[in-house]
Symmetry: C2
Subunit: 476 residues, 2 copies
């Protein structure tokens, strides 16, 4: 298989930041993260007004740079782009990321014409374009980023997004859920490389296992469908579509000049291609978290434990509404509980309401263990109860987690619900201690391969979408 | 109007905790919060095994208590309840909260028979019952609580719930959103007082403005419909129904022995009665937060500002999908922007994508102000951007909030979106500082009457349900 054209572009030997400046604006904004993350190739600031920026020698033009220049980040105004491309062509540049915006998305004819002229000129020069009107590449493994605050560690999630703000939002949220990225690429107006190119790249990229996309409009529908269908045969792809309604379609036009089409056609296409739709970034991250932590799950029969009273009742409703099958507690489990002398063998159900138990022997961990051992369950969800009662003393995260018996789950997939609630204390020290405990508990769960969700409806929704993906994949 | 029977019961001169014990279990669990919150009446622990508990003189029986006993909290086993009622009757007790459980919810005939016998005996003695199988009363104004960790401050939200765990969950979540409670009552199996009694009480209660309910089954459908319809004429009522699907209905039976009916009938009833349905506790709190902070809003035309790029596009989609009307930016606003020399007057839209502005003069506060002054908007939603860039310096919450010009909003209702994301920094000190800043910003917004939501879809959903309530109320 030939190397994907983006593979070489994403491993540049050097990067020129054209339009770099010494101030706090976006000019130094593209330079600073490369310096701070420790990008290993050469960095060349380009701006005729400076001799050096951030202690690095600056050049008046790309042409003046003495060494090889593989990759250019452009934040010059739109009117200077043609000149910059011609300088880059002279220098043998392979790719340009055009942060530069105000082209077709302005709705103005002359700006759209200039955009076309830029593409033509780049094609003549053999230069590939990322953008315009985008934040470009975040590739922590190569220490390339467009923002200083992004995580420095690499992961296995790939993200292609028409929006740069969506990348910030998604990477931030995902980081809190234990996800890290192989690459995240913001591609704006998709003038040269488009959605299908980025998807094709992630499909063949050995660093990427789960693919996320934020798309406002597709440049080539047929090619995208084919690429998507091929990709989902081996890797899950989760897509948020921006521009679904009348007002959203208006907004995509002024954001990335995309022509958003009918949602019905879109949803059918995504589903037939075997991909997963998400409504918003939170759901995108929820579903990707499930794919990252959980294996393939082929059935929908869920066992739920750890809730109490009303939360158990609602857990049943919300799991069912999300498309999971909350089966009655299997008779073998009742019989085993009866044999062990449990007084609630005929009363406990699924969800297992832990508020009805009489003795300590049938705690949440015991229920999870017995459910994990039963072939009628395809997956389990547990509530991780994080309510601090002053009287109970301050336990460690290890002690807290022991009650869930995570090492006795027999590889049965488990999701944890850690609710978005306070900690039931009026004491500030308790708050701080509790928040830190819960962070450690979350880390401990993730280390054991258990993804955490802020509510049962979000856990059940993510699990259901994961199961739908694997079921469709197996049936083709 | 006659005083509601619950009014006297909720203002007891003294409380006896029968089955109190010195250990860490629920016996001292009911005593401790009364002591810790500083309940002003007499507290009498009752248990023949103790002479004192938590430093308070204990009695062998309710009969042995020297003073008046208005209210009893029972955590004795089910088998001792009849004797405890007869002691209480002799003492002139007015009401008993039966934490005691294992009655009809066990599915066992003898337990259900005992439950009936308890009701008959209480009726003969003129004693009213809360429960059984419930946590009882949280009434911060009277310093009555069933848990030490609940907020000590009072508020104007009333909550009646068949589940005690749901009260913990809802009060915790609501507290983080700036809501406090007048009373929250967990009523379990609803043997005597039922859903209609609690609703009727909150309807006439001057301390309560917004009513939340968690209901698994209704004892008297006709009475509940009538009470609900009367109540919603003056106060919003938001209801989560537990036991909606097959497995949830199974779960309600073993939780509170409720017979959950058809969901279609339920939804029609709630809607015709002018109340608001919520799917889960998070949504319940979202909607109550809107009612608490916002005035009546009669139209659905929303203006959105503060988003950037993709988040603006999705804001349009998600508002529209929630039932709001994302109108195009009114021409008068474009003309005013043009007159003031804004270069983006013909490009900016609604949602106002703040990433396209060229100069600082048209920031989010400016957009909010001009939208607030325009009669085409019924409400506004703003993103409060909480992304920390190392270079920007550490601002105060006051400075941060100034950019939103909250004092120039002309009483136009505003909701704020503060996303559930990290802070874009790899530095722990930055994290702590940033988290604290965001807490202060949230408090500042609430002080200005602006409710905060973790995502645009939740803000839009809550606003839409609030508007639906007021529209139905006005049309009857």
């Amino acid at each position: 298989m030939a190397t994907h054209p983006l593979e070489e572009i994403l491993h540049p030997r050097s990067i020129a930041v054209v339009g770099a400046s010494g101030g706090g604006g976006r000019g130094s904004g593209f330079l600073a993260p490369l310096v701070e993350l420790g990008y290993r190739g050469q960095i060349y600031p380009v701006n005729p007004k400076y001799t050096e920026i951030m202690g690095i020698k600056a050049y008046a033009s790309v042409k003046d740079i003495p060494g090889v220049v593989d990759y250019v980040i452009s934040s010059v105004p739109a009117s200077q782009v043609l000149g910059m491309i011609s300088d880059s062509a002279a220098k043998g540049v392979k790719a340009i990321h055009l942060y530069t915006a105000r082209f077709s998305e302005t709705g103005r004819k002359e700006a759209a014409d200039l955009e076309k002229e830029i593409l033509n000129q780049a094609r003549r020069a053999g230069i590939r374009l990322i953008g315009p009107n985008c934040m470009g590449v975040y590739y922590p493994g190569q220490r390339i980023s467009f923002s200083s605050g992004m995580p420095t560690e690499s992961g296995s999630v790939g993200l292609a997004s028409q929006s740069g703000s969506a990348i910030h939002e998604i990477v931030d949220m995902a980081a809190q859920r234990g996800l890290r990225f192989s690459k995240a690429i913001s591609y704006g107006n998709a003038l040269d490389f488009n959605e299908s190119d980025y998807l094709e790249y992630f499909a063949q990229d050995s660093e990427t296992n789960v693919i996320m996309m934020y798309i406002e409009g597709v440049r080539d529908g047929r090619r995208f469908y084919d690429t998507l269908r091929r990709t989902t045969a081996t890797k899950p792809v989760i897509i948020v579509k921006g521009g679904r309604g009348q007002s959203g379609i208006r907004a995509t036009a002024s954001h990335t000049a995309s022509l958003a089409g009918s949602m019905q056609v879109w949803e059918t296409m995504v589903s037939q291609a075997g991909a997963v739709s998400a409504q918003h970034p939170s759901e995108l991250v929820d579903v990707a978290t499930a794919f990252h932590f959980l294996p393939s799950i082929s059935g929908r029969r869920v066992g739920v434990a750890g809730g109490a009273g009303g939360s158990s009742v609602l857990a049943a409703d919300l799991c069912e509404e999300a498309g999971l099958d909350v089966i009655p507690l299997p008779m073998e489990i009742r019989e085993e509980m009866k044999a062990q002398g449990s007084p609630i063998w005929d009363w406990i159900g699924n969800p297992a309401d832990m508020s009805i138990r009489i003795d300590r022997s049938w705690d949440t961990g015991e229920m999870l263990k017995i459910m994990a051992g039963n072939p009628n369950f395809d997956l389990l969800i547990t509530f991780v109860h994080a309510h601090f009662h002053g009287g109970q003393g301050k336990v460690s995260a290890e002690t807290f987690l022991e009650q869930y018996r995570l090492n006795e789950l027999n590889n049965k997939p488990l999701l944890a619900v850690m609710e978005e609630r306070g900690q039931g204390s009026n004491n500030d020290d308790d708050h701080t201690w509790f928040r830190e405990l819960m962070e450690e508990v979350k880390a401990g769960l993730m280390a054991a391969g258990v993804p955490g969700y802020p509510s049962i409806e979000r856990a059940a929704g993510a699990a259901s979408k994961l199961i739908g993906y694997y079921q469709r994949r197996e049936s083709r």
